[in-house]
Amino acid sequence: MSILSGWGQYPRLQAHLRKPQSSEALCALAQNSGPAIARGNGRAYGDSAINSRCTIDMRALNRFLQFCPDSGQLVAEAGVLLGDIIATFLPRGWFLHVTPGTKFVTLGGAVAADVHGKNHHKEGGFGAYVDWLDLLNHSGQILRCSRSENPQLFQHTLGGMGLTGVICRVALRLRPVSSGWIVQKRQVARDIGQAIALFEQAQDATYSVAWIDCLQRGAAMGRSLLMLGEHATPADLPPKARATPFAPPKRWHLHMPITPPSWVLNRATVRAFNALYYWQGARGPGHSLVDWDSYFYPLDAILGWNKIYGRRGFAQFQCVIPLAQAEAGLRSLLAAISAAGAGSFLAVLKRLGAQESPLSFPMAGYTLALDFPVTAKTLALMQQLDTITCHYGGRIYLAKDSRISREMFHQTEPRAALFTRYRQASGAAGAWTSAQSERLGL
């Protein structure tokens, strides 16, 4: 038995962890294990990738199998990290179509959570670029699934949190780029209304995301720094860099050497950080050229940053509020957060586009994500935020969740009952369960 947790280090659960070294070993394991769940690099925040009886560590199955330089289609085993894909294919002029905020997730994990990036409003989620996948099902068969072959299973697997089977191989379309740089444009929003207005004006921007100060109240509530981005062409680069547009960025990696006591992060330190960050951002240049690593993965530079919240771990709250209700909903959420004085450094606001899928998180609207150290007070606050989310017709992101109640989950997710019915009818329900799916009755 080992102790497993997600990236938030909450909850920590005892589990049997198995690490198959080959597809054959994986099939044998899945047939003999009883209910199980696949696990990638452990970057889901909560209990999505933990099954106490059998958790299948997929990281040894991490081979690139095929790449077509004409179409940009990469076929790879599910345990490949997105960072490996970038390291190998960016020098040849290819990048990911969709990337989450860390490159340390596996391909299989990205498909299972149908992750989104800063371009969701314009280009959709990760699953939109999956041509096909090979899925190990409950009877030990590996099934090819795509939009034309086993289409139901394919759709339920994108965003299905590993609950339809084990994703073994994925054919992913990459994006041609002509440099590893992003032209970034920064805009300042004095409050939440202006932030939304700026997002709506920026619908054509490829990438958009905002850092939001969630401790501000009153007139400055929801003040934000909006960051828009486009892939740079060699012409955008300084003359010296034009010859090597894919040169790897020079970056320091810091390790969090210790777990600081949890009182280090309190209202005063977070407020001071937020003020500093906002003013520095508001004063700095509006346009800049940023390397891909700093632009997409700022937190990856601090390896083990999840320890900053102390030993008790942390929970991330991420919800999406539908477009029509977005401003009212966000105001209500921010009012509850600032009243509790429990803000976090890493509050992010983002416009999402429309998406039809059985269980994927995105819908047309605004998503707000923030971290809280786990305490009785913040757990109560997050329950309050769940209620507000539900009231405005929103939903929460399973890849980030570690604590929502079953009742609240089903109130926010009318799709869950259909998903469960599909799982029962297809035989997947008895074979694939996670601590999260058991907690939520999914």
Binding site: K19, Q21, S22, R63, F64, L65, Q66, E77, T88
Partner: protein
């Protein structure tokens, strides 16, 4: 221009995979040799895609000594570096009672590896350059009760490599003996091993690559093993025989 090819004998293991990636990342073409070598097709594609080198697969049965000359002939080119990872731990309890199983351990760790490296040594010598690497084990420095059949056969291999190095020392061909301690692989999965003594397959690859660059003779993957084995080897037999290590 790509660098000379690296031949990996016993290419199915975790250590072999790490070694193949290490040398491929430095621009060497890779020749993977193993039993049922087609199972390594995914590794072949993976290494080629990641590192842009040519990877070839070669059927190799270390215990079929008669097939060795044909195997060497069949390689697309005589490699610049040959690394032998062929070996078998076996179960000591079985090796004590079942002579067939004991012989299999002995032949897998000593006879097969020694014969193929001997053959390659002659070819390298004739050509005028090359490096041979034998992955032995610290268990070969002093055999102990818990795995002496394995240890003794590794000891034979260590002695063979030492003699071969001595024979070739005045010429251009070099021989490296690698003595890994515990390595985190399929072979050691499930064993309770002290973490400070445990190397990762990537550590072995790093140590081997450094050893071939600097033409080292005998390398331990984790330096602490040099000290541990110095102490164990220094124990008088009358003390050693009563230990349970």
């Amino acid at each position: 221009m790509s660098r000379s090819a690296v031949l990996i004998l016993g290419a199915g293991s975790d250590m072999a995979r790490a070694l193949a990636h290490k040398y491929a990342s430095a621009g060497h073409d890779i020749q993977l040799a193993a039993r049922q070598v087609q199972r390594l097709a995914a590794d072949q594609a993976d290494i080629e895609l990641r590192h842009g080198v040519v990877v070839s697969l070669h059927e190799f049965e270390a215990l079929d000594l008669g097939s060795h000359p044909g195997f060497v002939q069949g390689l697309p080119s005589l490699p610049g570096i040959a690394i032998c990872l062929v070996g078998l731990m076996g179960q000591q309890a079985e090796s004590q009672t079942d002579m067939q199983k004991a012989t299999l351990v002995m032949r897998s760790n000593f006879e097969g590896p020694a014969c193929i490296l001997g053959l390659l040594a002659n070819a390298f010598e004739q050509r005028g350059h090359g490096i041979l690497v034998g992955i032995a084990s610290v268990a070969g420095l002093r055999a102990r009760a818990s795995n002496y059949v394995y240890g003794a056969s590794k000891a034979g291999f260590v002695a063979f490599l030492s003699g071969l190095r001595n024979r070739l020392a005045r010429g251009p061909v070099h021989v490296v003996t690698v003595l890994p301690g515990f390595v985190n692989t399929k072979m050691t999965e499930g064993m309770a091993l002290p973490r400070r003594l445990l190397a990762q397959p990537a550590d072995v690859a790093e140590a081997v690559s450094r050893a071939t660059q600097k033409r080292r003779d005998v390398v331990f993957v984790k330096p602490i093993w040099r000290l541990i084995m110095a102490i164990i080897c220094a124990l008088p037999e009358r003390v050693f025989k009563k230990t349970s290590l």
